[in-house]
Point group: C2
Chain length 336, copies 2
Amino acid sequence: MAESVMEYLQSLAPIFDREIEKTIPRDRKPWEVYGVLWDFLDRGGKRFRPAMVKLSYGAVGGKEAAEPETVVPVGAAIEMFHNFTLIHDDIEDDSEMRRGKPTLHRAYGLPLAINAGDGLFMMVWEALLKAKLPPEKLFEVQRVLTSAFRRVLEGQAIELNWYREGKFDITEEMYFRMVEGKTGALISASCEVGAVIAGGSAEQREALRNFGMAVGIAFQVQDDVLNLAGKEEKYGKEIGGDISEGKRSLITIHALGHAAPADRKALTEILAAKTKDREKVGKAIDICRRSGSIAYAAEKARKMVEDAKKGLLILPNNASSRRLLQLADFFIYREV
Amino acid sequence: MAESVMEYLQSLAPIFDREIEKTIPRDRKPWEVYGVLWDFLDRGGKRFRPAMVKLSYGAVGGKEAAEPETVVPVGAAIEMFHNFTLIHDDIEDDSEMRRGKPTLHRAYGLPLAINAGDGLFMMVWEALLKAKLPPEKLFEVQRVLTSAFRRVLEGQAIELNWYREGKFDITEEMYFRMVEGKTGALISASCEVGAVIAGGSAEQREALRNFGMAVGIAFQVQDDVLNLAGKEEKYGKEIGGDISEGKRSLITIHALGHAAPADRKALTEILAAKTKDREKVGKAIDICRRSGSIAYAAEKARKMVEDAKKGLLILPNNASSRRLLQLADFFIYREV
C-alpha cells in the first residue's frame, strides 16, 4: 500500500510544481532570490500537503474540472509556505543538509537565505490571489491559512525556546501544544481549506480539520520513531540524528519521565551534549527502548490515526475520501 | 515646518499603534513571539508610511468617517511589514543597535529573532483582512502590496549580493534599481493603496504611486547625506556610520566614479575595510565632499521631490494633498 501512496503523490507533484513556477518565475532576476529558491524547490519533497487539499476538496464533492483554478493554486501556496518554514528552520537550527544538499544558508550565506525565505513567504500570497474563487471563499481560505501560519510560528517559537533555555522538563501536554502548532496546524488547514473551496458543511470542515491535525501530529511522531528505530537505508537519514540534535520528541520526553533515575540522568546528559558519538547515541536509543518510549510513541501515533479515520466516516464514500484513509495509514506504516 | 510635520506624525502614530495591538495581542503567548515583537515595536519610529496611506486617501476625496475601518488597518499592515523588514535586515547586516537598543537577534538570539520577524510578516495579512472594504478593493490592495513586497525583497537581495561579492563597480542605474525596490516600492505602494481605498481614478493612482516612489528614494538619498554631513546631535546616529558599514550609497557610488584615481583607491580601501577608525572615516567623507558627491546627492534628492510635487497638481487642493506636499519637503529639508 505504501508504494501506491507514494506513486500517487508522485503523480500529483508536477501539477503543483508547474503552478509554483507561475508565481516564482525560474528566470526572473535577481538570481539571489529566484535562483536560490529553485535550488531548494527542485530538491523535491513529497508534496503531500497540496495532495491533502485536493483530496479533501474531492471528498466533500468538489468538481474535478474546477481544480486547476482552485485547489491547485491554493495547494501550491501551502507547499510554498511549507518550504519557506524549512528554509528558515534550517537557519534557526543551523542544519547542515536538507534533502541531500547543503542547506541554503550553508550554500549562499545567512543573509541571502533569510531573504529568499522571506521572498517565498511573500509569494505564498501571490499564489493564493491566483485562485479563482468567489471573494468570500477566498477570504475564508486566507483566514484559515493565516491562522494556521500563526500556530506554526508559535509552535516553532516554543520549541526554539526549549533549546535556547536548555529545557528538558517538558510534559506531554506541552509537547503536544508545540507540535499541534509546528506540524499539525498546516496539515489541518490543508484539509480544511479543501472543504472550504468545495463548499463543504461546517460538520465536514470540522471533520477534515481534525483529521488533518491528527494525521499531522501522527506524521511527526512516526518520523521521530523512524529516526530512532527505522532502517537507515529506507529512512534516508542517519538513525539517531534526533539524539545528536538533542531533540525534544514524544519519545525522549516520555523516556525522561519514565526511565529509571540513572537512565534519566544519562539520557539528559547525552541530549544536552548534542553528541554524534555513535556509542552514546546508541545508549540513548537503548534507554528510550527500555523505557517503552519508542513503542509508546508508535502506539500513540497509530491510535491517533485510527481515531482520525473514524471521524471521516461522515464524509461521502468516494475515491477521494478512500484515498485520504489510505494516506492516513501510510503515515503510520511508512518506513520512509 | 519640520517641527509641525513631526508633530503631525506623532499625533497619528497612536491610531495605527492601537490597530497593530489588535493584530499582535500584547499578552498572547508564547512571549517568544509577541513579547519579542513588542520589545521592537515599542521603540517607536516615525510611522510615516501609514500616514502616507491616510493622506493619499484623503487627497483623492476619501471620507474621514470611514478611515478607522479602511486606511487604519491597511496603514497598520504596511507599518508592520516595514518593521518586519527592519528586524530581518538587522540580522542580515548583523547590526548591533536599532532605535537605541540592541537589535532583536543580539538580544534574543538569531533563531527567535528570525521567527519573530516571520510572525510579524504573517500578521501583516491578518491586519489587512481586518479592513472592511468591498472584496475587489481589498484584493486590489493585496495585489498592490504583494507586488511592492516583492520589489522590496528583490532590492534587498541585490544589495546583499553587493556586500557578499565585495562589489564596488556599481552604476547609478544599478543603484536606483536597488533602492527603488528596497526603499521606494513600499512608500509608493502606501500612497497608491490610499488612492485605491478612496476609489481614485487611474490617473490619481499613478500620480500618487510616482510621488511615493520619488519621495521614498529621496528619503533614502537624504538619509545618506545626513549620515555623512548631518549634525550628530540631531541625526541621532554616529556620523559616517555608512562608511564604517562599507555602504554603497548614491554618494559613495558617485565618488567612486568621479574622484581622482588616488582618492578612488583610498575610498575603496576604506569602504572594503569596514573600519570604525575615525581618521579613516573622516578621510572617506572628505573624499566624498571633494568629489562633489554629497552636494550631488542632496541636489538629486531635492530635484526628485520637486518633480514629485508637480505630479500631485492633478489632485484636488485639500488639507490632505497640501499635507502630502509638506511631507515631501520635510524629507528633503529634515535634519533627523
